[in-house]
């Protein structure tokens, strides 16, 4: 009998029967996350389905992150509706200010080895970093989970991504994710899973894996999944504090799944981590990725640090390191900082980084989705070039269709804030010399 991929094993366990790529399984969901962007519609569907009581309140998590804080009376009332429903049914709510649902699912270790999680938001794929099957669904599917505790899932074929070597100084997980987007294209992993293998995986810390898994959906992936290893268990161990930690961790170790050596993959690609260079996705497509040098000199008026891709402590520290060494953002650059969660913001406050950001004039926005999808936070002005640590740069994504959004790593974003134009941080370090290119490029590539 031919071996199984990680996704095949994860969904087989959840469905209680052996499933192979292409099979459709009715899968029991460990947790289903919904946001203020998706839950209100789910409540409408649930009601239309004739739902009265949810199947299992303990498997549902509602995060108020898209309108944080509510920018209008109507969005405020959407949140009121969610809170009321959750209170009536005993569903956990992460209220405004707690942060992005995806980050909380990971921080609070809902995402654990062997589990199946769905999120009514496309970036639910993030959780796959923790050796679970995690994918995005819509509001109607969330209502289906509320009704039945289950979801139908077609088992994806998997792309085996071999990572070798290690990222060089200055290159980051975001550059790896953007490189994968360039390699695979916006639909190169459509309906498929990305499964990560190779000696390079061990060199990626847990946050790095979250970044890569998070952006897998920008390649069309159904899910991305990593094997559990020392990095996974160290992370979980830190998250599972308290008396029951040892037994919870032991259960995680026991529940972890690994692909069989003879598993069948739809295709296989190799990425040499040492060759990953700082890069930038150009407006308005995530897979239009070029080396930073190619757009060096493009003026930027807004720099966005945050989101479920680039809003964790490590991201802010990397950005701050560049900003502090070079005197903060250039005049005329609006620096917007949105921690992905309250815990991250508190950590930045304790570490002094938050004060440093404030001292350099950064605009600090409530933890949540912020400006990323234009539902709240700082909206760019007409014609503005934004460079952002986010995952999407679609036209109008940040709430203004005339803005141009470039995507890059925290370091590249920070360096660009310092220079007032896109620049490789390494070039900034040699600032005694003139920049490689000082002729501003047109905003539209």
């Amino acid at each position: 009998m031919v071996g199984m991929t990680l996704s095949e094993k994860l969904l087989s366990r959840s469905a209680g029967k052996p499933l192979r790529a292409g099979d459709i399984g009715i899968c029991k969901v460990d947790y289903a996350m919904g946001t203020d962007g998706s839950v209100p519609m789910a409540l409408d569907y649930f009601s239309a389905m004739g739902g009265t009581r949810v199947f299992a309140a303990e498997q549902l998590l509602f995060a108020l992150d898209h309108y944080a804080p509510a920018p209008s009376p109507k969005s405020a009332m959407l949140q009121v509706r969610i809170r009321r429903f959750a209170a009536d049914h005993g569903i956990t709510v992460f209220d405004v200010g707690a942060g992005i649902g995806h980050q909380i699912v990971v921080e609070q270790a809902y995402a654990r080895p062997g589990r199946v999680l769905v999120g009514a938001d496309s970036h639910a794929v993030t959780y796959g970093a923790a050796n679970c099957f995690a994918t995005g669904i819509g509001s109607s599917d969330l209502a289906g989970v509320m009704m039945t505790g289950e979801v139908w899932l077609k088992v994806p074929a998997s792309i085996k991504v071999n990572l070798t070597g290690r990222l060089r100084e200055g290159a980051s997980a975001k550059d790896l994710a953007l490189s994968l987007a360039r390699k695979l294209g916006s639909d190169g992993a459509a309906y498929q899973a990305l499964e990560f293998h190779g000696d390079g995986v061990a060199t990626l810390d847990f946050d790095d894996r979250l970044v890569v898994a998070n952006m897998s959906v920008e390649m069309g992936a159904k899910n991305a999944v990593f094997a559990a290893d020392a990095v996974t268990f160290d992370y979980l161990s830190a998250r599972l504090a308290g008396g029951a930690c040892a037994s919870a961790l032991a259960r995680c170790v026991e529940a972890a799944l690994y692909a069989d050596p003879d598993a069948v993959y739809a295709s296989e690609i190799t990425v040499v981590l040492d060759e990953v260079e700082p890069c930038v996705a150009l407006p308005h497509q995530v897979d239009q990725v070029v080396p930073v040098a190619q757009v060096s000199g493009t003026p930027v008026q807004m720099v966005y640090l945050g989101t479920c891709t680039g809003g964790r402590v490590k991201d802010f520290r990397e950005a701050l390191d560049v900003l502090m060494r070079h005197g903060g953002p250039a005049p005329g650059v609006q620096l917007v900082v949105t921690p992905a969660s309250r815990e991250i913001m508190e950590s930045l406050a304790r570490g002094g980084e938050l004060a440093d950001f404030l001292a350099m004039g950064a605009i600090v926005v409530t933890p949540g989705c912020g400006s990323c999808c234009g539902t709240g936070g700082a909206i760019p002005a007409d014609g503005v070039n934004v460079i952002s640590t986010a995952n999407r740069n679609f036209k109008g994504r940040m709430g203004n269709a005339t803005a141009n959004i470039f995507l890059a790593s925290p370091r590249v974003c920070a360096a660009s804030a310092v220079a007032g134009h896109i620049i490789d941080p390494r070039a900034l370090d040699d600032r005694a010399q003139p920049p490689k290119s000082d002729s501003p490029m047109p905003a539209q590539p």
């Binding site: 409408d44 389905m49 938001d121 109607s140 209502a143 039945t148 459509a190 159904k222 999407r392």
Partner: protein
């Protein structure tokens, strides 16, 4: 408008294959590759209303500002690869349904859009759309296979098959009627 078809001798039968084929005429409204859900309906719009009849007035406002005013109920959306990529927001389907559109034909769909379409009774038809032009008269035939005939073309385009389990949800009219009746999967 009805056409008898052979009843297949499949072990697994479902509603769609046991009913006569349904033939629907429509007009092609063409879009390109990688049309993300934010282009279909800007995510900031759902902040103010979730009503499809309100949202339909903002369909494609970012990339085709004249579309919403000109859309007709018999229109068929036609696109290239990866239609509905990006956010999983379901208003990108319900706003289309709100405009009276019943079919989206694309070379491929992002999986969340495909699911949401099925769940809302919007037919996601996957076939090679390269030959279809804006304004083309299209004949969609829903039967054991789904086909799309472009006026003037000799052969219809044949859609990729949809799994029987999934087709059952679509045939029920979407996930709401499906679960309202069955209570479980």
């Amino acid at each position: 408008m009805k056409d008898d078809i052979d009843t297949p001798s499949q072990s697994r039968m479902h509603a769609a294959t046991t009913q006569p084929a349904v033939i629907v005429q429509g007009t092609a409204r063409c879009f390109g590759d990688d049309i993300n859900t934010d282009y279909i309906i800007s995510s900031r719009r759902k902040r103010e209303s979730l009503d499809p009849l309100v949202l339909k007035d903002f369909l494609f406002e970012t990339i085709a500002p004249a579309f919403a005013a000109s859309v007709r109920t018999a229109d068929v959306l036609v696109a290239g690869k990866n239609f509905g990529c990006g956010s999983a927001m379901e208003v990108a389907v319900t706003a289309v349904v709100g405009a009276g559109i019943r079919f989206v034909i694309a070379r491929s769909f992002a999986r969340t859009y495909f699911r949401n379409a099925i769940n809302n009774g919007l037919y996601p038809i996957e076939c090679d759309t390269g030959s279809i032009q804006e304004g083309d008269a299209l004949t969609v035939t829903l039967g054991t296979t789904i086909t799309v005939l472009r006026q003037g073309a000799s052969e219809p385009l044949v859609a990729a098959p949809i799994a029987p389990e999934v087709l059952e949800i679509l045939a029920a009219g979407g996930l709401v009627p499906y679960l309202r009746e069955r209570r479980t999967f």
